[in-house]
């Protein structure tokens, strides 16, 4: 396989991304329980993210000079506008993560469009800027979701699992301008570490993982991507990796990544924009070439 070229001759790319899900996943999980609307414990697990963990993560990102990407459900943004502003003011990117962490595959095209637009409006109102990136919340997106994203002018999505580097999303049999920056379950701290007895997370109620074992996996994956010159997207959650102890793991990962001077650490938008310049899609029209000043 031909090696991917990264900016300034860098060897590989890294994206630190954080899904700021707040309590929406926990609300969704408890929605069929008795007294669902009044429960306070399950939700508190998620509220820890915006309440406390974002600040822990912002400190670490500053310490290692890293700009990250935060994907935020509109509902969480609405309830924590100050937190969102703080993240944006610190120079990190804010992306769209649905409104209440919906499973898009279960929604109609109209509903999906409303969800995405609503969250765009909410985030723009807080930060003054519409997100350019989208990450599909839990589960799969709908076959039409990428068409909606493309029509709405999103620059990229970071939703899929099937590659280790960016690519153009194929719509109607042709590459579109919607870049996909895939991540993996093995890079997801929620999969590795989220835990609650009631409601049960994971659903079979396994054990709480050893932090340092998770760190070992993360660093091994990073080294693998680095050696192969690919783009690793760490998919983390403030409520997980921002806790005081798990923060130590995140710090070790940051130390490892930033110790390599030939690694390009970038936000989702930066990676997508670079990709469009360095690897223009095959079927670009002449008008698009003119627009980009390449004719």
């Amino acid at each position: 396989m031909e090696k991917v070229k990264w900016p300034e001759g860098k060897k590989s790319a890294v994206m630190f991304s954080f899904d700021l899900d707040g309590d929406v996943i926990w609300r969704n999980m408890s929605s069929d329980e008795p007294n669902a609307e009044k429960l306070i414990r399950a939700r508190s697990i998620g509220q820890y993210g915006p309440n406390r963990c974002v600040d822990m993560i912002l400190d670490l990102m500053d310490k290692y000079g890293v700009k990250a990407t935060f994907y935020v459900p509109g509902f969480v943004a609405e309830h924590n506008p100050d937190v969102i502003r703080r993240i944006a003011d610190a120079g990190h990117e804010i992306g769209n993560h649905g409104y209440t962490h919906e499973r898009f595959v279960e929604k109609t095209v109209e509903e999906q469009r409303e969800i995405i637009e609503k969250t765009q409006r909410i985030i723009k109102e807080i930060t003054g800027k519409e997100p350019a990136g989208f990450r599909t919340p839990s589960g799969d997106w709908h076959v039409r979701t990428p068409y909606i994203l493309s029509e709405m002018g999103f620059s990229y999505s970071s939703s899929m699992r099937g590659d280790d580097k960016p690519y153009y999303t194929v719509l109607d049999g042709e590459e579109s301008d919607l870049v996909e920056i895939p991540s993996k379950w093995e890079l997801d701290d929620y999969v590795a570490q989220a835990y609650s007895v009631y409601p049960a997370e994971p659903s079979g109620l396994d054990r709480i993982s050893c932090y340092r074992n998770v760190q070992d996996n993360d660093i091994r994956e990073f080294r693998g991507y680095y050696d192969m010159g690919l783009c690793i997207s760490f998919l983390m959650h403030p409520q997980i990796s921002g806790a005081p102890g798990r923060n130590l793991v995140l710090e070790e990962v940051l130390k490892e990544v930033t110790s390599h001077k030939d690694v390009w650490v970038a936000t989702g938008s930066e990676i997508a924009e670079y990709w469009k310049k360095a690897y223009p899609r095959k079927n670009r029209t002449n008008d698009e070439n003119v627009e980009r000043g390449e004719v």
Partner: protein
């Protein structure tokens, strides 16, 4: 710096709230009522009271730590002498529901009745009314805490949304309790409890590796210490009380007490400090 620590007594680096849940056999009965006729399953919980608790009390003495014991009413009724001994050895006793029930399943009246019964049972056992509350496994509602407050409790330790104690409004009149939040990772039972039927954990995950658990506890303590937070630990003698795990806990207590400026506090001590040093 974005992250802020908690206000602490002069010279202290972090608070350590060591708590013990005496769920005994009621943990298993809460999973399945039929366990009442399963002596083997019940013996898992009983072991905590007969073997785990004495070991734990000795360990706490050895490290001069005063802990806060959350006691279900049924435990107080079944093991009054054990609960009395906890108090006699200088620890604090708080309320952990009546029979380790999931409070989110009940209406207001039933929750009230259960909390009243628990308070009465604890007072009968040790002569003291509980001043703190922790809802057992399951969820809870704001009204649950409001009932606990009306029954005389001033603090509660139920939620996961912070790493510092904070005052929490528990009703529309603005009445408050001190909430002392916790973390799943600093609780021994989810790592170690195991049974086939009733099944725990439901998916029958293997018992966690002890050294890995110690590594997590140390990491969380280190993080809390470094950021000046309140480290809340939950222990259940039915899981911590085995010989090997007692040694594991000892190693952890050595690690904690090897740090300077750790403020070991009970729930009531945290409440008294926080009420005098309120930060809004």
């Amino acid at each position: 710096m974005y992250a802020k620590g908690m206000k602490l007594p002069e010279g202290k680096k972090c608070a350590a709230f060591i708590t013990v849940n005496l769920s005994a056999e009621f943990f298993w009965l809460s999973l399945d009522k039929k366990a009442a006729d399963m002596p083997k399953t019940l013996s898992l919980g009983q072991y905590g009271m007969t073997h785990g608790l004495p070991r734990l009390l000795d360990l706490l003495d050895e490290f001069h730590i005063k802990a806060t014991f959350f006691v279900p009413g049924r435990t107080a009724e079944t093991y009054p002498e054990a609960v009395r001994e906890v108090v006699d050895r200088g620890h604090e006793v708080a309320c952990h529901g009546y029979e380790y029930e999931n409070f989110s399943l009940f209406d207001y009246e039933e929750q009230q009745e259960r909390i009243r019964k628990a308070v009465e049972a604890i007072e009968n056992a040790c002569g003291k009314k509980p001043e703190g509350f922790r809802a057992p496994m399951g969820d809870l509602m704001l009204e649950t805490l409001n009932i606990a407050r009306k029954e005389g409790m001033v603090y509660s330790s139920d939620l996961f949304d912070d790493d510092r104690p904070y005052f929490m409004k528990v009703n529309e009149n603005g009445d408050e309790m001190l909430q002392i939040p916790m973390q799943w990772a600093n609780f021994d039972l989810p790592y170690f409890a195991f049974n086939y039927r009733p099944a725990f954990p439901a998916g029958q995950g293997r018992i966690a590796n002890y050294s890995n658990v110690l590594s997590n506890w140390k990491d969380e303590f280190t993080g809390h210490y470094y950021h000046n937070l309140c480290y809340t630990m939950q222990l259940d003698p039915q899981t911590t009380g085995s010989p090997g795990r007692t040694a594991l806990l000892k190693e952890f207590l050595q690690f904690m007490t090897g740090h300077e400026g750790v403020w070991f506090a009970t729930g009531r001590e945290l409440y008294d400090y926080c009420i005098k040093n309120r930060v809004e």
